[in-house]
């Protein structure tokens, strides 16, 4: 995996797991790959991976069970989508508006574009 340079690694690993959950690689109730395994796979400090997992746990996307380790929570998918939607609305949409303004694109243009698809 290639890490991008402007986001902390632990957040990038967080995103990676969310992506794997959305791709159904890990389904709800499934055991998630262990911190160790993921650290080895990525060649990353296990403590960094642990930090990603802690964040996932705090967000309620994964939880621990004795003897199993981390597993995917029931409504993980919805929560991830909800979080990504918020992020989309909060960061990408304002950026998008800024660019529309810059290039002089109106909402009508956008609707036309959508209808033509």
């Amino acid at each position: 995996m290639d890490f991008s340079k402007n986001k902390p690694i632990y957040l990038q690993i967080y995103d990676l797991i969310c992506e794997r959950i959305l791709n159904d690689e890990f389904r709800s109730g499934d055991r998630v790959v262990s911190v160790r395994e993921l650290g080895i796979e990525l060649g990353v400090n296990p403590n960094t991976v642990m930090r990603s997992f802690e964040r996932l746990q705090n967000k309620g996307i994964i939880a621990t069970k004795r003897g199993i380790g981390f597993y995917v929570c029931e409504n993980a998918r919805e929560m991830i989508l909800e979080e990504q939607k918020t992020e989309f609305l909060e960061t990408e949409v304002p950026e998008f508006f800024k660019k529309m303004e810059m290039y002089g694109i109106s909402f009508e243009d956008l609707i036309k574009l959508k209808d033509n698809r």
């Binding site: 160790r36 060649g43 400090n45």
Partner: protein, 274 residues
Amino acid sequence: MIKINNLDFAYKNTQVFRRISLEFQKGNIYGLLGENGVGKTTLLKLICGLQKPQHGEVTVDGFVPSERKPEFLQNVYFLPEEVITEDTTPEKFIKKTGVFYPRYDYELFNKLMKELEVDLNKKFNELSHGQKKKALLACAMSLKTDYLFLDEPTNGLDIPSKALFRKVISQYCNDETTVIISTHQVKDVENLIDPIVILDRDDVLLNASFSQITEKIFFEYGPERLDNAYYTEMLPGGYINVMRNVNNEESNINIEALFNAVMKNKETIKNLMK
């Protein structure tokens, strides 16, 4: 835990450390950085007991390293930078060495040698520099000591081996281990080392984890050079500005830029991180 308290050390007439104090906590992979000749290797030698402090204390889990007690030594392995060419095969070497280490794992040695693609029946002096280095790494890891000190471990490794090295070290680490990697090839160990220790001539400039660093320092990747930055460097597609984290934002550490920023603002950053 490794505790260094008020350490003074000098070779004949060159002072290396002057009253330095620092700690290494277990469960971490430390990156030991510093320019050539600041004493990275000497610090590792002091922790291993190969050298003795002139003043101050070094203790490792309560042991005084320079006493070189077997109980201490069997839990420590130091892989020096210079590859020593034992006139024997890695296989024979690990078999006679492993018996001293309580957690020595021959299967792991075999597995690592396979993963690193080293011929275990060739003598060390018949192997290429990179192969020797890999063979010695496999030996070091299969001893499974809690303390593992690697001096410039990626020197001489090819690109696939470097990636493999990171995986192997990540695998090595657990809650009880303390790995210290001394290097100036920061790129090779990026994402692997955390915390970072930066040494300077007779001083320690930084000893902080990534989260402690990002709390105080912000790495801005943008289109322009910022004047108030500690350090600015051109990267492909823009600039990286190392600055004070005033807005409490999280950013991704670029170790090279951090190192340069620290070297340019020694006292400022030392005080900032206090």
